[in-house]
């Protein structure tokens, strides 16, 4: 748990799926469970896209660029929405940030 970031700090470093998260993709999204809390989550659309991208251990900036490329949105919007999503995922214990 030491590598989990303080969720109020800026999201800097490489992002990855937490060892406490298990996921299954079906239909139009991915279902995720936190094994520590037994809480369930469902991601669709851009959030699902971001979840898939986590397999490559990206940085916040990598994800922003990927979202802009695929969804043709401005850097400001992608950064704002992505930060909001990542903070939710951090709150749920579903991702970790490894500081470089």
């Amino acid at each position: 748990m030491n590598d989990r970031t303080n969720i109020d700090s800026p999201i800097s470093g490489t992002l990855s799926v937490s060892e406490y998260a298990v996921a299954s993709e079906f239909g139009d999204g991915v279902s995720i469970m936190n094994l520590e809390t037994s809480a369930y989550y469902r991601l669709q659309g851009v959030a699902w896209f971001v979840w898939r991208e986590l397999a490559t251990a990206p940085t916040f900036e990598d994800l922003c660029v990927a979202i802009q490329d695929v969804y043709r949105v401005s850097p400001e919007i992608s950064a704002r929405d992505l930060e909001s999503l990542l903070r939710d995922l951090l709150h749920g214990g579903l991702i970790t940030v490894r500081h470089r």
């Binding site: 060892e19 406490y20 298990v22 299954s24 079906f26 239909g27 139009d28 279902s31 469970m33 094994l35 520590e36 037994s38 369930y40």
Partner: protein, 344 residues
Amino acid sequence: MASASSLDILRNLLRQFVLQRRAVELQNNVANIEELWTLLSDNRLCSLLRDDDRLFERQTAYRQSVWSVNAPALSTICLIAPLFEKDSIPHLFIKGPLMLHEVYQDYFFRPTTDVDVLVASNDFYRAGAVLAEAGFVLEPDCKRVYWRIFLGEQHYYPPHKTLTVVDLHRRVRHPAGPATMERFLDPVLRHKIGGRSVAVPTPVNLALLLVVYLLKGIMTYEAVGYFLLDLAMLLARMDERAVHQLIAEARERKLTLALCLALRAVRMIAPLSPLLEKEINGQKLSLMSDAELFRQLLVPGIARTWPRIRALIKTCDHVNDLAQAVAWEVGRKIAQRACGAHLF
């Protein structure tokens, strides 16, 4: 009712899946897609197929149902494994989502209805007490002799909805043979999940467990295509050393004929190694053709050619075990009638 052509299509899908080790595409010219889906569903094999527009809603519903049972199973495992460890109770998680991950690298490959835990006979009641302390409640029927002695398992209901039923086993055996459980508990593999390390069977032990489950499937006329695929996938990954060990362990545990029976079914969907082919050819097991056996495992409703007592006798490795097999079967029948149960 599955037709011969649907069964042939399924056989080809299974073969492709084992060879490619990933979900396969359904051909456009499949005539009776409804029938095929029923066959896949009955055998818990729907994840064989890649996403298909013709089946989108059913595939989604299937995966959703898998999620709804396997996710609580994983939560349950993560809860109870540390409790058994803390009380130093040697145990093993069999059949469930951990096995699916070992075989398919996917905890959600098919639905697993409950969490099966194997413990040594001596620890059976101690393990039950650990579950009770965690809030699990023993199903009243399980107090009967049939469950305790003949099935050797007890079902514990979970304390809340995010968890699932735990089936505590103290025996894994050839339906007619002697108890072979202790050999399954040592050695074990450690499966990492949720920051923990959990005990699961070694590949050789898992293969032998699957052999027993397939035999039970034949005897209870259940569709067990999922166990057949598990075994085929496992064997496809075994190196020569592991195959040698599998053959030797089967011999030690009086499971050689049962192994050969299972191998004959496996070779309908995957090539076997020369060592395993040699093992089959060395045994006389002239019960039915490989094709009939395959059908028996996947569509027992129409096959139903094998009386269970015959299955018991024909898969006993030693003549000496026959009397025990028949006596066990008669005792089991009496105990089963006494409690009105219809399970194996």
